[in-house]
Point group: C2
Chain length 286, copies 2
């Protein structure tokens, strides 16, 4: 029952094959490492629901549109292993870039429409990289269930569409965002924030919460809701917003008139750090 | 041991799951139906090597760049079932278009480079459709082995690259082309040829054979080899060639100086019917 570290695809496959032989159901929690309590929530859920849990740690160069963001992405393998071991994870799969991409990939998985607004617009190529590496990880681990955080709502919508369209036989499990008491969503990138920046970063959640409040109090115009959220963001001049959108929760297209459940999503820059977050909102009937 | 016909993805998955439980290895032979003795060779090989064989019959609209070619593609389900039953196939999976594409797919699998020359140039979108539907069929059947014919050499190179790049855990088996005594390669599209067209269509194989002979007698210039093959094709004025290329057998890029094994590939039009074929050639050492 000890945690094993698999560095190669062959090792990971052998671990999973042995678990299958024992009749265990397989879960995967794909991460980029630098695990925090948000990841811990995914892992705990996976361990509660599956007989065998694989956590993948891989900072995928293909999904970074910004070389500085990639090279500065936090790493802490020993802390990640400790967190996984404490939660009862069976295997951590932490391959090198060469193991995952022994040569430049000529194959890409593209999802259209869902990928167009928000992160797709501000991070060209990001979702192609995400869909491609998640397809690879799904083929390596061949899990029954895969766990993703609600914080990356558009990523989850992209993966859900890929799984449906390509008939992957995998159940996707969405786990709610974990937040600090200030409301700041857990994120590996929070490690890069100074103390002052961490104070300013709460603007993100405060703007989303204001938008949700306005929608739930009956406002149907997305333009009005967004203007109110923008006022909140304007109280934090140290923060600049890339986008704040009100979108369909399934296909992520921006909505003008709010008549049903929506997702409110926002990206901000605090100093050099880019943060994203989102909340769901449902207008009161009638 | 009787042949079962699965019309839905759920039925196909249930058949394969039951075979897995019995410890059988799974083979898939993806086809567009209208089975001929070339397909029979794939099926016989699959049945000899695997405990459980699934033949898929699906005319995939996504891979047709020509609507007329799609609507005229031959169908004969009962004859296909008879051929499969005689060979000992376990399951024929013959889904409807609605079953495979319940809504327009937003997800595509693209392979670059390998797809650029030849069929990729003359059939825009063809290989995207092929890669996407093969990924779907692989996810539905989850086979250990998949069987493809050497006649569609570029298709096989595309699928091989997709399998490698995306870490599919599937062994690809390439089966040699089956030919009529005239040399004409077996193809479902041969059904559309008139008697006269069938005579003219031998130009394709004769040109490829001439190119191979010239290479094996020591000619290293692809331009010279192609000119000799063009002379053969010119003897058949009823036939027009789309391309005749000498390419690297792995990544399909056109070669100018022949120093190792190559593939010679050609596409022709005979009346309204488009036919492709290819042969391997290896220059004599020294």
């Amino acid at each position: 029952m000890n945690l094993r570290l698999a560095r190669t695809i062959a090792e990971a496959r052998a671990e999973v094959a042995a678990a299958r032989t024992r009749g265990l159901s397989i879960a995967v929690v794909p991460t980029m490492g630098a695990l925090h309590t948000g990841h811990a929530a995914l892992i705990e859920r996976a361990c509660a629901e599956s007989g065998f849990v694989v956590v993948t740690l891989f900072v995928n160069p293909l999904q970074f549109n910004d070389a500085g963001d990639y090279s500065n992405y936090p790493h802490n393998l020993q802390a990640d292993l400790d967190l996984c071991e404490e939660r009862g994870v069976d295997v951590v799969f932490a391959p090198s870039v060469d193991e995952m991409y022994p040569r430049a990939t000529r194959t890409h998985v593209d999802v259209d429409t869902v990928t167009e607004p928000m992160e797709g617009r501000f991070r060209p190529g990001h979702f192609r990289g995400v869909a491609t590496v998640v397809a690879k990880l799904f083929h390596i681990v061949q899990p029954d269930r895969a766990y993703f955080g609600e914080k990356d709502a558009q990523q989850l919508a992209v993966i859900r569409r890929m799984v449906d369209d390509l008939n992957f036989s995998i159940k996707l499990v969405e786990v709610p965002t974990v937040r600090e008491t200030s409301g700041l969503a857990m994120s590996s990138r929070n490690q890069r924030l100074s103390e002052a920046e961490r104070q300013w970063a709460v603007a993100l959640y405060k703007a989303l919460e204001e938008a949700r409040r306005v929608i739930e109090s009956g406002e149907a115009s997305a333009a009005v809701v967004k203007a109110r959220a923008a006022e909140v963001l304007a109280e934090y001049p140290q923060v600049s917003a890339e986008y704040l959108e009100i979108v369909d929760p399934d296909d992520m297209h921006p909505i003008e008139t709010i008549t049903g459940p929506v997702r409110i999503a926002c990206a901000i820059l605090v100093g050099k750090t880019r943060l994203i977050d989102n909340v769901r909102a449902t207008p009161h009937p009638g």
